[in-house]
Structure formats: structure tokens, C-alpha cells
């Protein structure tokens, strides 16, 4: 199977949806809360991310009525999305591990100096 790479915003969104189905505003709030407000994206930019994932088959959407009576569009991660997330998580851990290793060695060097 051809490897599909995703950007960081897509990785974060898939990661949130792996826990539960969410609608757009809920994703924004959860992302800010879980990252301690480190990831506060411009809210409108979430939708190109979500629609791109939907087109790629990584998520699927369904409608559900909100308490206000308005229909909300919920996103659900698909099996393909879960596999993609797993692959990207591993890549990310490997990448961040490598960066940490370099940083640790540099900090050690600085301390020694």
C-alpha cells in the first residue's frame, strides 16, 4: 500500500478523533485544552483539514442534532484513519526521539563546557 503522509494538524485531529467522535468547535476546544493552549489554530483552518481527511477516507461525517436544534456535523475516525494515525504516531515518536537525543547531547556538551 502506498504510504500516505499527513501534516501535523491532521495528525492532531486524527489523534483527538481516535478517542471519540467530535464536531468542529469541540475539536478546537479539546485541542486547546489538551495542549494547554499551545495549539490554538485559527478556527476556520480546521475545516480544510477535516474535509481533506474526509476526502482521503480517514474520517467520515454524520449529522446529529445539537441542544440548540441545529444539526451538527460529527466526525468519526475510520479504520483507514486509525491505521494512518498509528503509522504517523510511530514516525512522530521516532522523529521526536531523535530530536530529543540530539538536544540532550547538545545540552550535555554545553554543561561540560
Amino acid at each position: 500500500m502506498k504510504k500516505q503522509s499527513i501534516d501535523h494538524a491532521q495528525l492532531l485531529v486524527l489523534s483527538l478523533l481516535a478517542g471519540e467522535d467530535m464536531y468542529g468547535y469541540q475539536i478546537i476546544v479539546e485541542l486547546a485544552r489538551r495542549s494547554d493552549h499551545t495549539f490554538e489554530m485559527k478556527e476556520g483552518t480546521l475545516y480544510p483539514v477535516l474535509h481533506g481527511l474526509e476526502r482521503a477516507g480517514a474520517v467520515e461525517a454524520y449529522q446529529q442534532e445539537a441542544p440548540t436544534g441545529r444539526m451538527r456535523k460529527y466526525y468519526h475516525i475510520t479504520r483507514k484513519g486509525t491505521e494512518l494515525l498509528k503509522t504517523e504516531e510511530e514516525s512522530w515518536r521516532s522523529y521526536s526521539g531523535a530530536v530529543n537525543a540530539v538536544l540532550r547531547s547538545s545540552i550535555g556538551g554545553l554543561t561540560l563546557a
Partner: protein
């Protein structure tokens, strides 16, 4: 800028989406903005201030519209445009005179510039020995009649002669004039074709705008074309390409 303006600007940048997708995107954005505003109002914000704060967090609507648009493949748009064009063509051809007008224009073009040459006609009774291009014209109001070729099966004896004429209207989109047609050599018609020795055509082929007459001729005959209809007349003598000595 308010919510409505924001949505309108996002929508203005969507080119590839279908009507249904456009409506869904608008509904989703509106729901998001309403959710955010309600959350702020729960914190004590007035509606106007809540809307202002919410919009500050939404980002550039034009850029978001463009990015959203890129998520949709362009083939829907292409398919939509092709469908519209085909529908318009179908309606024009079915419910209007466009097909007839185009047909008239085509006939007019061929009649003026490329009437079928006698040597290209495969069903003449005999193969002509001598073919001569001519440009004999008669104007009847908006209609031009042109004898464009004559031919003889044998240039120095009694034989068969061929006269080719075309006619067209000055207005290329008008219906082709009914001066010649495939039955005029058989039935009484406005255009009479006969030889100077008094013989009538015994064959012919073609269509309204270009017709070839076949006539039995005596050596030295010419061909007379006489038109008399709708208050208009002409009388034309067409010389045949005889050789000097029989």
C-alpha cells in the same frame, strides 16, 4: 464584518464544490460560529462582542475558502460544466431553429465555395470526356444562381451533356432557395432546362443548393435555363465545350 459576511467570503472562494457541498460547508461554518458565540455568551459576553471575539479567532475567510476548495477534486466542476453545455445544446437543437439555421449555413457554404464537381460525381450515366469550369451567374433578389461546370461525354459528336449549377441566399442563415431540386428534371418546375435542339434532361442528381442535369445533346447544342416564378425570370444560354470540327 459579521458572521454572514464571513461566510459569504468563504463561499466566494469555493469554485469546485457542488451546490450540495456548498450548502453543507456553509451550515457547518455557521454551526461552528454559533457554538463559539454561545460559549462566550455563557461566560457573560454580549452577543455583539461575542460575535466580534469569535470572528477574531476564525482566520482569513478568503484563505480558508481557497484551502477548502483545494480539498475538492475539480472533476465535479468539469462534469457540471459539461452537463450544462450539453443541456443548453440539447435545448437549442430540440426547441429552437438553431439546428435548421446551422444546416442552412452549411448548405450555403458548400453551395458558394465547394459545390460538388462533376468528376467527383460517381453516378453519372457516362464518364465525361471534357469538363469545363464556368462562372455564369444570375441574381434573383437575394438569391444567386451560378452555373459552375459543364461537361460532355464526347466533344465532337451527339452524346450526353452535363450542366452543374448551384444557388444560395445572400443571407447564409436563410433557407436554401428552391430553384433546383432533384425532381425538376422530371416534372414541370420554375426552372426549365432544355437543349437548343429542344431536348429535355433525362437524368440528374444533387440537392436543393447544387444540382447536376444530364441531357442528350446534338453536336453544337447549347443548354437553355429558363426561370419563371414568383414574378421573377431569367433566361440563360450555357454554351457547351464542343470541339471545332465534328
Amino acid at each position: 464584518m459579521n458572521r454572514r459576511d464571513y461566510c459569504a467570503e468563504v463561499m466566494a472562494n469555493l469554485r469546485r464544490v457542488t451546490g450540495g457541498e456548498r450548502a453543507a460547508i456553509r451550515a457547518e461554518l455557521e454551526a461552528h460560529m454559533e457554538d463559539h458565540m454561545l460559549a462566550l455568551m455563557d461566560l457573560g459576553y454580549e452577543e455583539e462582542l461575542a460575535e466580534e471575539r469569535m470572528l477574531q479567532h476564525m482566520g482569513d475567510p478568503a484563505e480558508i475558502g481557497r484551502e477548502l476548495d483545494q480539498q475538492y477534486p475539480p472533476h465535479w466542476l468539469v462534469l457540471k460544466r459539461i452537463t450544462i453545455v450539453l443541456t443548453v445544446i440539447f435545448i437549442l437543437l430540440t426547441f429552437t431553429d438553431v439546428a435548421q439555421i446551422l444546416n442552412n449555413a452549411g448548405d450555403s457554404f458548400w453551395a458558394r465555395f465547394y459545390p460538388e464537381k462533376l468528376m467527383d460525381v460517381h453516378h453519372l450515366k457516362e464518364v465525361p470526356e471534357v469538363v469545363q469550369d464556368t462562372d455564369i451567374r444570375v441574381q434573383l433578389d437575394d438569391v444567386m444562381v451560378r452555373v459552375y461546370q459543364v461537361a460532355l461525354e464526347d466533344a465532337d459528336a451527339a452524346c450526353r451533356a452535363y450542366v452543374a449549377l448551384s444557388c444560395w441566399n445572400r443571407n447564409p442563415f436563410a433557407e436554401q432557395p428552391e430553384i433546383a431540386n432533384s425532381y425538376f428534371w422530371m416534372t414541370p418546375a420554375p426552372l426549365w432546362v432544355r437543349t437548343s435542339s429542344g431536348r429535355n434532361p433525362d437524368g440528374g442528381s444533387g440537392w436543393l443548393w447544387a444540382f447536376r442535369y444530364e441531357l442528350p445533346v446534338e453536336y453544337g447544342d447549347s443548354v437553355q435555363l429558363t426561370y419563371d416564378a414568383f414574378g421573377q425570370t431569367f433566361d440563360l444560354t450555357v454554351e457547351l465545350p464542343w470541339e471545332e470540327t465534328p
